[in-house]
């Protein structure tokens, strides 16, 4: 590498090459979409079954499963962080979008709990389904991944559907939202990630 012989044309080539190499560094492997997608799907359908078929009053207890998923996620993220060698602007934006989503989600649940009226709880499902669409939409835009954008728009449409549907049937709406917004895109992202990993491994060996 001789600085004197390094022409402006070559420097332009270096810039282009490096920017190209740094592109698509967002290492989304789809794992958390699948994890939370299936958790919420299972809890929604589970609550519907407990309510509709077994008439069990404390059917909402099934949502405590989310705590187990949350604990698993905590350790998973801690483990994954150790592997990270690059942090992009997109990674940083997305992590804060998802943190905001979790804060607002918990806040909504708290506000509904404080309100105390049974009739208000009928609105929580449509509100949460609409909320699922927000980080999904932003992620879809940032990752330039259409299945997430489509999933987010579906969430918003389903939230309207849930609002005009009686309980317990409206519990099937978050399950449908999860399938379209997180499970299907998560599966596609996972496949892409595994394919890319295999390609890298083949390239190295």
């Amino acid at each position: 590498m001789n600085p004197e012989r390094f022409s402006p044309q070559e420097s332009l080539k270096v810039i282009q090459e490096m920017i190209e190499k740094a592109k698509n560094q967002v290492s989304e492997n789809g794992h958390l979409y699948l994890l939370w997608g299936w958790t919420v799907f299972f809890c929604s359908v589970g609550q519907f079954i407990l309510w509709h078929f077994f008439n069990w009053e404390k059917n909402a207890l099934i949502w405590y499963l989310c705590f187990i998923t949350g604990i698993y996620q905590f350790f998973y993220i801690r483990k994954e962080r150790r592997k990270v060698v690059v942090l992009t602007y997109a990674d940083r934006i997305l992590s804060f979008v998802w943190i905001s989503f979790v804060i607002v989600l918990l806040l909504i649940i708290l506000l509904f709990s404080l309100h105390g009226e049974t009739s208000a709880w009928k609105l929580i499902t449509p509100v949460l389904v609409a909320l699922y669409g927000v980080p999904t939409f932003v992620s879809g835009i940032v990752l330039q991944f259409r299945p997430l954008i489509f999933g987010a728009i579906t969430c918003w449409a389903l939230s309207v559907g849930a609002a005009i549907t009686k309980v317990p049937y409206q519990l099937l709406f978050p399950a449908a939202a999860m399938l379209v917004a997180w499970i299907i895109p998560g599966t596609i992202l996972r496949k892409k990630y595994l394919k890319a990993q295999k390609h890298t491994a083949d390239h190295v060996s």
Binding site: P8, S11, E17, A22, V86, L87, R92
Partner: protein, 98 residues
């Protein structure tokens, strides 16, 4: 009008490091080494030069008992890179390739 190209940036490996860091927010030494195909020794020297110029900040920390070197471009580095690209453009426009 042609302006002199910043000598700190007008060097292949340093420019490669800066181009990578302008694209990502922060990167580990191993990432830079892999993408630039440079030797660890040469990369360390050039990182130090960029750090001395105030173009990047270098964060040394321990991760699982292993030392980790994290590099991040500074606002001064972003400005320098942008100026370099602007000067490069004017140079390429005024001096056609022979």
């Amino acid at each position: 009008m042609f302006h002199d190209l910043d000598p700190i940036l007008h060097q292949q490996l340093r420019l490669a490091i800066m181009s990578l860091l302008i694209s990502v927010r922060e990167a580990e030494f191993t990432f830079l080494k892999e993408k630039t195909n440079a030797t660890a020794g040469n990369l360390s020297v050039q990182i130090q030069k960029l750090k001395d110029a105030g173009y990047i900040e270098v964060i040394k920390r321990f991760k699982d008992n292993y030392p980790q070197t994290l590099c991040r471009i500074t606002p001064k580095g972003i400005t320098a890179f942008e100026t370099y690209v602007e000067n490069l453009k004017s140079y390429l426009n005024t001096r056609p390739e022979n």
